[in-house]
Symmetry: C2
DNA sequence: CCTACAATCTCCAGCGACTGGAGGATCAAG
DNA sequence: CTTGATCCTCCAGTCGCTGGAGATTGTAGG
């Protein structure tokens, strides 16, 4: 078990130092041991854990979900139904966002494409924004 | 010009009352006239403006961009190049997000699909999250 | 006219997920 | 011994809202 300083942990995981401390504060990372001069000492476990957290965040999982996922990794005999359902729920969210974003892109593309590059008073961009009726968008 | 109370404005635009006040605070909505008893009085212009704001927010434009777009609508003779460039920039952002989210969906779908619904120790969801190498994800 | 109750007002704290600065202590290298 | 990097804690700010407290005002019914 190497002794890893927070800066090294940061470099190895790509998570900024203040963010690591923040993760400790909110209980995603456990409070590590300290040196005599009060500096945090991490080990390889912490690198793994932080990479897990970071990866999950990159995938857009919320902190609460990550907390659950981590507690699952600590009970490896537990059925994985819960992990599965978190992932499924998240997948559904992502697919919803994807659909919304696709519609949004189409609308933006149309706005930009139709713009005759003249004056604002004739600008499709402004017009589309001003007239809600032109768009099929939901939101949420 | 009807006299419209903030609650009516809220109902007509789908923007919550505190949000309207917030928009006033940050200068998206102008400060309206008041009644003798200090209540905000809006007009039809304000409905239009708030709908514009809401629509732009729904489309994911940031408040700063909306501020610019609004100031453009108030100079209708100005060339629309700026509105166009804001929309283009936003379109590019949306397309980037869309691509990322697509990759994310694929990864999540794979995670969920590969999960054998057994124990956590064999769970693909957990495994994929733990092993960053398995994923092609960038982030930002 | 009185009573409810709804709507409004201001102020301010909180959300999520960080980010970064101030001001001080400590460490490693030259 | 000095320099500069790193670390510490604390706290305020980011963005775009959201909602509660506590006071006031408007409106409808009895």
């Amino acid at each position: 078990m190497r002794d890893i300083a927070i800066g090294v942990l940061s470099r190895e995981t790509g998570v900024k130092v203040p963010t690591i401390r923040f993760y400790e504060e909110i209980g995603l990372m456990r409070a590590p041991a300290r040196t005599g001069s009060n500096r945090r000492i991490y080990g390889d476990d912490d690198i793994r854990r932080l990479k897990f957290i970071r990866h999950a965040r990159d995938l857009g999982f919320e902190v609460d979900d990550i907390r659950t996922l981590i507690s699952l990794t600590e009970r490896p005999q537990a059925p994985c139904a819960e992990a599965d359902s978190i992932a499924r729920r998240h997948l559904a969210t992502v697919e919803r966002r994807l659909a919304q974003l696709g519609a949004l892109r189409d609308e933006l593309a149309r706005m930009v494409g139709d713009c005759c590059h003249g004056q604002v008073c004739d600008c499709r961009v402004i017009e589309v924004l001003a007239d809600h009726g032109q768009c099929a968008g939901g939101h949420g």
